[in-house]
Symmetry: C2
Amino acid sequence: MTAKPKLTKNQSVVLKALTRAKKPLTAYEILDLATVRTQGLKAPLTIYRALDRLRDEGLVHRIESLNAFLACCEKAGHTEPVGFVICDNCRKSVELRLSDCETHLGASAEAAGFQVGEIRVEMTGLCPACVKAAARQG
Amino acid sequence: MTAKPKLTKNQSVVLKALTRAKKPLTAYEILDLATVRTQGLKAPLTIYRALDRLRDEGLVHRIESLNAFLACCEKAGHTEPVGFVICDNCRKSVELRLSDCETHLGASAEAAGFQVGEIRVEMTGLCPACVKAAARQG
DNA sequence: TCTATACCATTATATCATTACATCATGCGA
DNA sequence: TCGCATGATGTAATGATATAATGGTATAGA
Ligand SMILES: [Zn+2]
Ligand SMILES: [Zn+2]
Ligand SMILES: [Zn+2]
Ligand SMILES: [Zn+2]
């Protein structure tokens, strides 16, 4: 019986903000949101602490190349490795299943003698909307 | 006839420092090295500029999850995507070929409607030496 | 000479993240 | 009830990473 890990108020506020944003936000961007500020969160550390907990629960992912955080696309969260594809233009980001690549990648690392922990994949490019916009520009 | 892109002094100093280090260094760590300081490099921006050029040439790679830079394992450099595996304990990092995973990863991204540019893969874990050390600890 | 280009220096500032320490609430055994 | 551990929170300061703004120097070609 693992105790139901209910989120605290700060954690809920941050998770809601990220869910609403639908794209990655940095800790300071979260802090600047009116919806967050009015809830009384006003220091970076408060945000980082909430994010730490949310990441532990697998409800939020960190995108290393942006120093930003994205709400998981699955309601219940998860800790399995996933990949991200990130628009260079508008920063829209989508979580992707790795479709067995993680197995191959892990095997390469083990072939080099490493014991593998986390696997992170980040791809950059243009999102569908920005591809279309670029096409219109000629 | 692409002009031979000879490196400037600053660029050479930074590349040598990274090559000698054999592991990822942050810009500020590079700046703190005696071998770099004595060559007259003394501001962060100087280091970043040299790194930008070296990355353009494919001679140095950036590891996003460490905010650090690693000399390419190939003398001539390259811009093809590679993966890294990084020791959580000692930070030793190794460059790995992606063995076709990049193709699959890119395909997933394209299936989501994205036009893919860069692909970055970073794995964390324990290097062979640290695995052995951990085993001795029991 | 005039202009363009590339490289570099210096200072200040912006951005991202953590440390240190105090406070408050809750739950739990004595 | 008291004492105490635990975990969440608040505040302030600082550390760590990266870029902006400005201008100097050297060089190459018209
Ligand atoms: Zn997820
Ligand atoms: Zn976009
Ligand atoms: Zn390389
Ligand atoms: Zn190691």
